[in-house]
């Protein structure tokens, strides 16, 4: 086990370096520069933008800039944003809470919907419930979040005027009132994301339960005279959930990555909106750091998923 872990981690190093090279090269080759807005302002002489470029090392060759970035990164220095001149790690830390809150609760909500609905429709296969659940699931994952988001805003904020559509990190309220306000502003983005996720997970839980429910040991359990409830909960679901657990683990990086579009629509100050605004401003250090963190998370959670799978399913061995 220990050797397996070590080997996996060692393999991760070259892939991370490869990823960072690709990211850096793409960003460096992409058009635009962070001081474009200065360049098109007639009140600012062009030398000002040129001077800033030179000072921040943007005119150096790509290879040199990459090596500089990599060595700084290895020393734990993430660099600073060209646009705000704030350290990148500070920026990311500030954005984490909102992302974790919204995306995290949407994942929990999605699981709370997907598990019971998936299991129940598998057990009552082809029943009316199953048919309706399937239909809703298909609708759910074929509607993109930017569309459902706008629909929700139009319906709940503009026509009904029930919910605010601008997410605020500083609610001017305390105590229970604060929780209520927080709930009101988070419910739309959370619902948008949860519906999409729940739809696909429902289908997944359903099919994985269906696979298990046909197995001989389930028939044995029933033959022993166990009540159906017990059979499903203790014998079927437990085994059926092994692949679901790995799937959820693999989804974790997305949790940090946030739902970029949803964050933008609802103005949630999360990592996703940080990434978008940095891309629009050509703020290379921030884009680099955020995407690199995602890459690390993907690799890490792949590893976690593999280990979890082996732990849950003793038939899997590490070699």
């Amino acid at each position: 086990m220990g050797r397996y872990l070590l080997r996996r981690l060692l393999i991760a190093v070259p892939s991370l370096i490869g990823i960072s090279i690709v990211l850096f090269a793409v960003l460096a080759l992409a058009p635009g520069d962070p001081f474009g807005e200065l360049a098109s302002n007639p009140n600012v002489p062009p030398e000002v933008a040129a001077g800033l470029r030179a000072k921040f090392g943007l005119d150096d060759p790509i290879a040199l800039r990459y090596v500089r970035w990599l060595s700084a990164m290895l020393h734990g220095n993430w660099g600073f944003s060209f646009v705000s001149r704030i350290d990148v790690d500070t920026l990311i830390w500030r954005r984490l809470p909102a992302t974790l809150l919204v995306i995290g609760s949407s994942q929990v909500l999605a699981l709370l919907i997907a598990l019971p609905v998936g299991v129940y429709s598998a057990v009552r296969r082809y029943s009316i419930f199953d048919q309706i659940a399937n239909l809703l699931a298909f609708i759910g994952f074929s509607l993109p979040t930017f569309f459902t988001g706008l629909l929700f805003i139009l319906l709940f904020s503009i026509y009904l005027d029930w919910l605010p559509f601008v997410f605020r990190t500083d609610l001017g309220a305390t105590g229970w009132h604060w929780y209520w306000e927080e709930f009101k502003q988070a419910v739309m983005p959370v619902a948008v994301l949860a519906l999409l996720q729940a739809a696909s997970w429902t289908r997944y839980v359903r099919s994985s339960v269906l696979e298990v429910i046909r197995l001989d040991y389930v028939t044995t359990a029933r033959a022993k005279g166990l009540p159906e409830r017990m059979v499903v909960v203790k014998h079927v679901v437990r085994n059926a959930l092994i692949p679901v657990v790995t799937l959820v683990a693999l989804q974790m990086p997305a949790l940090f990555g946030g739902a970029i579009v949803t964050e933008q629509i609802f103005r949630i100050p999360g990592i996703g909106s940080l990434l978008i605004s940095s891309i629009l401003a050509n703020d290379t250090p921030v884009i680099m750091a955020v995407t690199f963190v995602f890459a690390c998370l993907v690799i890490l959670f792949n590893l976690v998923a593999d280990i979890l799978y082996g732990w849950l399913d003793p038939r899997i061995a590490y070699r």
Binding site: D33, P42, I86, L91, R94, P164, D170, S277, A281
Partner: protein, 599 residues
């Protein structure tokens, strides 16, 4: 009227025999505009009447929360690092300049005790220096007094290249010295008629010396006050989350009595312009939304809804959407660059072609169908404030006249309907950035050109490339590797047009030598223009100076260097109850201290 008579009139105003109003009326009678007449008086040392503010609240505070929505969030709060107007607006909540620009392009004192002029001895008669007297009793938010040392420090800070300030261009050509604790002198290297650059408006916000002194130069980025501003403004700092939120609270010791009205201020960023307009006009969740780059049709619909809670506020600005004509040949490479100044454009060297093209831009349709209230047709390149707007130009859409001009100049229609002369066909490539209104405008121009036998090939470039200073990319606006191109210049802008009109002088021609950083992409060179521009740079009489700029405008328009299309307006969405004066010459928050909500 002769100069003598004018002098007599001014003298009688000075002596109090004639009221300012009567003088202005008389001048208007002679065909001058009112702001222009006011400026004549100001130059003669007759102070402007204090702007009449109909400020209602009787005491400071009690206004609750002021909620502002920006679809681009401020990313930093040091005015000397501000990259875009969004950053400057965020800073303006806490920091103030010595003077601000009002909607008519006049100076209003903020941290200055008065606006310097020749009469009060502020502006030197030779234009070599200006003395700013500072307001007494102004305190920083931490209780320290605001003095001349702070003002001098701002100059030192910004003009140091190691600080990497974006305002360096406004400070480096001057030297600033302290005269006494409440006055400073700004010295210039040469006579400078436009002295209100440093310490004024967006670039003029003053940061405190005692907090930034240790962070001048290379370690400017490390200053804690970069993120926790301590200014002199009407609101003091509470919280800042870059790219998301700025919060402030009322400054109880603000230097203007009974101001400001609101107890707290909140500036939320992110999202998009249309939903920001909705949040102010439709749902009333916010009091103000910045820079409404939204189709006017949508704004009108929102405003005209029966229960609209807000409205748009539109102010004049200099922004001009215009078509540029390339004077160099974009299709021949000379010494590794196209559009080289060493070449002449094969088609535009014939003035008839340039004149015909100017007749083929249907500005009225562009205004009514595309820009609405946010872009007004104009025949001038230099628009606003009124004293700089030429009355000599006119524009028309006249396809017959264009046809006649081309016919007369020997451009004959070929079998494909496209005109040609000496084997050169009238085929042009028209480039602009990707932006729906621009593509629509391109189509309108193309249609008219077709009727006149000119074939336009439309090209659109993604904005991040088109407006970048990327030396390696052939599609930037400064490289201008096509025959004609269209975009907006002049937003944001300061009232003085010197830097604005610099984009036609010959020494600013964009070329390989200056890495295409030159401000003149049209490659137009005209000795007379250069001469007039140089004269304006040193002309101390504001009236004569304005005339020179008007002359420059007339030259570039009449010579067909540019075809002005519409004069853009600055648009914000404001709640129906909020009273706010916006200015197209300064930040939207230039007058934040006077904002209040009606009950």
């Amino acid at each position: 009227m002769t100069e003598r008579e004018l002098g007599k009139l001014i003298a009688s105003v000075k002596a109090g025999r004639m009221s300012r109003r009567a003088f202005v009326c008389k001048m208007v009678g002679f065909g001058l505009t009112a702001p222009f007449a006011t400026q004549i008086l100001a130059h003669a040392g007759i102070a402007q009447t204090a702007p009449q503010t109909d400020y209602k609240p009787a005491k400071a505070g009690g206004g609750g929360a002021l909620k502002l929505l920006f679809w681009q969030a401020p990313t930093l709060l040091n005015p000397h690092f501000a990259v875009g107007t969004k950053d400057a607006e965020g800073c303006r909540i806490f920091y103030e300049p010595l003077a601000a620009w009002d909607p008519e392009g006049n100076l209003v004192p903020v941290l200055a005790a008065e606006i310097p002029d020749i009469e009060n001895g502020g502006v030197a008669a030779d234009g070599m220096s200006v003395i700013w007297k500072l307001k007494k009793g102004v305190e920083w938010h931490d209780g320290r007094p605001f003095t001349a040392d702070d003002v001098v420090f701002n100059w030192e800070y910004a003009s140091d290249p190691a600080t990497a300030a974006t305002t360096i261009g406004d400070y480096r050509d001057a030297t600033v010295e302290k005269i006494d604790p409440l006055s400073v002198r700004v010295r210039f290297e040469k006579p400078t008629p436009f002295w209100a650059d440093a310490f004024v408006g967006t670039a003029g916000m003053i940061i405190p010396k005692h907090l930034f002194e240790a962070y001048k130069g290379a370690n400017s980025r490390d200053a804690p006050a970069n993120l926790k501003p301590v200014g002199t403004g009407p609101y003091r700092f509470v919280e800042f989350s870059p790219g998301d939120l700025v919060r402030g609270e009322r400054n109880p010791s603000y230097h203007v009595a009974d101001r400001p009205f609101f107890d707290t201020i909140e500036m939320k960023g992110g999202g998009d312009a249309v939903s920001a307009a909705r949040a102010v006009i439709q749902t009333g969740e916010y009091d103000y939304a910045w820079n409404m780059q939204v189709e006017d049709e949508i704004l009108v619909r929102l405003e005209n809804a029966p229960n609209a809670k807000g409205r748009t506020q539109i102010v004049q600005s200099r922004g001009i959407e215009h078509i540029q004509i390339n004077n160099a040949d974009p299709w021949t490479e000379v010494d590794g660059e196209r559009s080289s100044v060493k070449t002449k454009h094969p088609l535009f060297s014939d003035p008839a072609v340039r004149q015909a093209l100017a007749l083929l831009v249907d500005r009225a349709v562009v205004q009514t169908h595309i820009y609405g209230r946010t872009g007004v047709t104009t025949g001038n390149f230099l628009n606003n404030p009124d004293r700089f707007t030429s009355k000599n130009t006119k524009w028309e859409l006249n396809i017959d006249k264009a046809n006649g001009l081309l016919e007369e100049a020997g451009w004959k229609r070929g079998p494909d309907g496209i005109r040609a002369k000496d084997g050169k066909k009238l085929k042009l490539v028209f480039q602009t950035s990707i932006n729906a209104p621009r593509q629509k405008t391109q189509a309108i121009v193309k249609q008219a050109c077709q009727k006149a036998g000119i074939d336009l090939e439309l090209k659109s470039v993604i904005a991040s490339v088109y407006f970048s200073s990327d030396v390696a990319n052939p599609d930037t606006a400064r490289k201008f590797y096509t025959d004609i191109q269209m975009y907006t210049v002049g937003t944001p802008s300061i009232p003085d047009p010197e830097r604005f009109m610099q984009q036609f002088v010959s020494w600013e021609i964009a070329s390989k030598d200056n890495k295409w950083q030159g401000a003149n992409p049209t490659r137009w060179r005209n000795e007379e223009y250069d001469k007039i521009f140089r004269a304006a740079q040193g002309e101390l009489d504001p009236v004569k100076r304005a005339m020179l700029f008007i002359k420059m405008n007339d030259m570039v328009v009449e010579d067909g260097v540019v075809i002005p299309v519409v004069n853009r307006r600055w648009v914000a969405a404001v709640s129906n109850k909020l009273k706010a004066t916006l200015s197209g010459w300064d930040n939207d928050f230039w007058d934040l201290r006077h904002w209040y909500r009606e009950t």
